[in-house]
């Protein structure tokens, strides 16, 4: 019926249905972007997938390298002590998660839904633990509740070395992670729902259970997954304060570093990988639903003052914030005291790292180098990779593989990745073996370990800029790299700096993956904390942990000042 065909110029036969399919020719930009996607895919395969396969392979071998199938797993689950540690890990993680998410929810509610005074201060204080290695709260707990602890009496005879210490330490360390997620979840609520509920005369209690809680449920679930994964894969807290109480993470360390039993270490690694992968998959499913929830146009809820509620939350949040500050302060003060708790004269004797185990001040220098290299190269590589995966025209399969691989590290605990690196890069047959033992492998491992969150940050920023920039550029015959450099990077600069800071702080504080990979020349600050604590030098360990905390904090503060001042001027275009 189409009159369009009648309009065709004389002689132009209507195309037959069997017409030749058009294969679009690739422009130079297409080729560049595709090669970038492929480069990222290859890098993630080499630095994440292959080490993991090496780990899996090792778990199926005996000491001589012969294939033994699942024999190692049978041995693992046949050993009541080892299998018991799996149970320990699960219940410790579950308990820590419940406590942490509950406290974080209350705190987040106070921050977003009440008019309590000092919300800015509370928010800032609650973020501090993220700047410290997980070893720091554990050391503080030793000072507070250990054998010579100040508050030992509070435990009424129970010992801090074991489940109690681990749970408190983990709650402290994971609190900011849960808080960030829950603050976001509670902040996006729709005021119209509350107005409707109030108009229908629902009680405050009923509104909380029918509006507030359902609205935040995806955030809650997400926080639960994240905290559970962080706790079950954390190594620092149980190492310092676990005492005779073993969990999966300390098991791996003991098997590998203590007994040189790599096969059993690999088995425990695989066991540890499972809950992390499950939590990862669960979280991805929830995140997808959350996105759908967000797309609705909502009116932001502005809390109204309510003296009773505000004071109640002020009291609760004060207690939580005080606990955070006390735990931080104890480590700092202990490190500055001549001999805690008997001689409190301030001294820097504990900062004389060169006369201690752990590599001395060189460790701190190495950590700075590692953090700087990780931040610079990591931010550049991850942002460029995310750009290629996000903006390459067509090439669906390649981009999908890239996206999947970029998210994979989120499911891989640091200890497992580090162990995989030993097996893969220490293999004499591996041409990349030269990396082993140097700074390069530490940087690569750290970038790989923290790739996913940085990638997601980059992807979110890239999705927010106009999808037609590349088209306009191509129609103006401008090569894609120029638009990337002149437009995309400046527009996404805040996100890129966020990524760099995230990588810097994590490189400063992480222990898990690198504990297997450092060499005498590349000792690191966070690992020095571990080793000094191991050797009984708790005060110097606290001192080094304090140095890490101060460095992370300084970088973060410098970043804030910089973005408000210098960068603010360079980004004048954002203002109207």
């Amino acid at each position: 019926m189409s009159t369009g065909t009648t309009f065709a110029a004389a002689g132009a036969a209507p195309a037959a249905s069997s017409a030749r399919a058009i294969r679009p020719r690739l422009s130079r930009d297409d080729v560049t972007l595709r090669l970038l996607v492929l480069a990222i895919v290859v890098a993630l395969v080499v630095f994440v997938v292959l080490p993991l396969s090496a780990l899996l392979g090792k778990a199926l071998e005996d000491h001589d390298g012969a294939f033994v199938g699942l024999a190692n797993f049978a041995a693992y689950f046949g050993d009541p002590a080892l299998a018991g540690n799996l149970f320990n890990s699960l219940w410790i993680s579950a308990l820590s998660t419940v406590i942490c998410v509950t406290l974080a929810f209350v705190f987040a509610y106070g921050l977003t839904r009440t008019c309590m005074p000092g919300r800015g201060v509370f928010k800032a204080v609650a973020q501090i633990p993220i700047l410290a290695p997980s070893l720091l709260p554990a050391i503080s707990l030793v000072y507070l509740f250990g054998n010579q602890g100040l508050l030992k009496g509070w435990l009424m005879g129970a010992s801090i070395y074991g489940p109690i210490g681990i749970v408190i330490g983990e709650v402290f360390w994971t609190f900011p992670h849960a808080l960030i997620i829950l603050t976001t979840a509670l902040a996006i609520s729709d005021a119209r729902l509350y107005e409707a509920a109030e108009a229908l005369r629902a009680s405050q209690r009923r509104i909380f259970f029918t509006v507030t809680l359902p609205g935040a449920r995806y955030g809650l679930i997400s926080a639960i997954f994240v905290v559970f994964t962080l706790v079950i894969t954390d190594f620092g807290v149980p190492k310092v304060i676990g005492g005779q109480f073993d969990v999966l993470a300390t098991d791996i360390y003991k098997q590998v570093v203590g007994q040189q039993n790599f096969q059993m270490g690999a088995v425990v690694g695989v066991v540890l990988l499972l809950p992390a992968v499950l939590a990862f998959v669960g979280d991805r499913i929830v995140q997808r639903r959350q996105a759908a929830l967000l797309s609705a146009r909502a009116v932001p809820l502005i809390p109204k003052p309510n003296r009773a509620v505000d004071l109640t939350f002020f009291a609760i949040c004060s207690v939580i914030a005080l606990a955070v500050l006390v735990i931080l302060a104890v480590a700092v003060f202990a490190s500055l005291a001549t001999f805690w708790p008997y001689n409190l004269t301030p001294s820097l004797k504990n900062y004389d790292f060169d006369n201690m185990d752990g590599g001395g001040w060189a460790s701190y220098g190495n950590s700075l180098t590692l953090a700087a290299l990780t931040a610079v190269f990591g931010a550049a590589i991850i942002f460029t990779g995310a750009y290629a995966i996000e903006k390459t025209p067509r090439f669906g399969a390649g981009r999908a593989v890239g996206q999947l691989l970029a998210l994979l590290p989120l499911a891989v605990p640091g200890l497992v990745l580090g162990l995989g690196y030993i097996f893969f890069f220490n293999d004499p047959a591996n041409p990349l073996g030269f990396l082993y033992g140097g700074m390069a492998i530490l940087v690569i491992c750290t970038i790989s370990h923290f790739y996913s969150v940085a990638h997601l940050t980059a992807t979110t920023a890239l999705k927010q800029i106009d999808p037609e920039f590349e088209t306009v550029s191509a129609s103006l015959k401008v090569p894609v790299w120029r638009t990337f450099a002149v437009v995309t990077v400046p527009v996404c600069l805040p996100a890129i700096l966020d990524i760099a800071i995230y990588l810097f702080v994590n490189a400063m504080t992480t222990v898990s993956a690198l504990v297997f990979l450092y060499s005498p020349d590349t000792t690191l600050a966070a690992i020095a904390v571990l080793n000094m604590d191991d050797a009984g030098d708790i005060a110097p360990a606290a001192a080094m942990a304090t140095m890490i905390l101060l460095t992370s904090a300084a970088v973060r503060i410098a970043y804030t000042v910089l973005t408000r001042g210098l960068l603010g001027r360079a980004q004048a275009w954002r203002r109207r």
Binding site: I22, R23, D466, T471, S475, L476, V478, R574
Partner: protein
Amino acid sequence: MLDKSAPLAPAQYAPAPHVPPPPPPVPYLEVRGLSKRFGPFVALQDVDLDVYPGEFVSFLGPSGCGKTTLLRAISGLDVQTTGSIRQAGRDISDLPVSRRDFGIVFQSYALFPNLTIADNVGYGLVSTGRPRAEIAKRVEELLTLVGLSEQAKKYPAQLSGGQQQRVALARALALSPGLLLLDEPLSALDARVRARLRGEVRDLQRRLGITTIMVTHDQEEALTMSDRIVVMSRGRIEQVGTPDEIYARPATAFVADFVGKMNFLKGRLVTADHVEVAGATLTLAEGIGVGAGAAVTVCLRPEDIVVRAVEGDRPNRLAMQVGVMEFIGNHFSTTLHAVGTSLNLSADLSINDVRDLGICPGATITVVLPPERLRVFPDPPATGH
């Protein structure tokens, strides 16, 4: 048929007044047998289209009709599954965006937020490696062209929507492309600015004589701006014609329905040029080549119903009772019921007519349905859609 609508000769735009016989127009853009499938979904089916030099052509249709898909195929953003496109004699069917010759303006404008207006406009010029002074001159020229030379140092966020739109236009024209593509260029603006920009864009296009294709879902925009309109539905072209033809002589029931308001009357042919509709018999100006007894749909625009000078022996003269009269502002939208039949019509009556003839609800008036204004379409076979 409808293709006798001769496309506007290029002479109308190119200043060549002394050449007596205009040469037969050679299409600037030739689209042949174009189809686009996304999996099982057919977004474009076997589309043929010619666009002539200097023409302003609009692709009009509801969302999902394929108009944007067709534009994206022409631009190379989403290359067609099968079929060919030639631009200025060159086969561009499989070329990437960067090797085609067009400037494009999007609904979002896609201005680079961190670059000044001047840098935005000069963005493509810098990559050509021209000297800095020449680029600056050309940018100044383009900004003057769109009336924004005062704003060169500002950033996009500091301009109004209409101004941003004009910057996007200047940027698209910077490299003097052979073809200008406009993807819903005015949709993000409010009604008043939109109406003004219609004229400005059209003026600019005429002055430059640049061949232009615009995608729009706004029929008013298409009618006011275009030399020719391509009405599309479900991946096919329904009709190609001048705005006047599209409005006055819709080729299909879809076009009749989509463009403007229309009375649709179900009826049956009595003879070749008489149709029986809801108990009334209407005379047609021309037959439609289907036999008597065929089911047909008769279309009549509400404003084509005549209420003045209806005396004498005129065909399709009916006594009608006035039902509801809705005051729209510049006219009354009125329902009419033909006395002694079940025929109901919607009529747009001018304020003058209503005032002079004293038309009011409940009154009975005489109207004429001019045969030359009746469009008749055979109904598709039953169990169609």
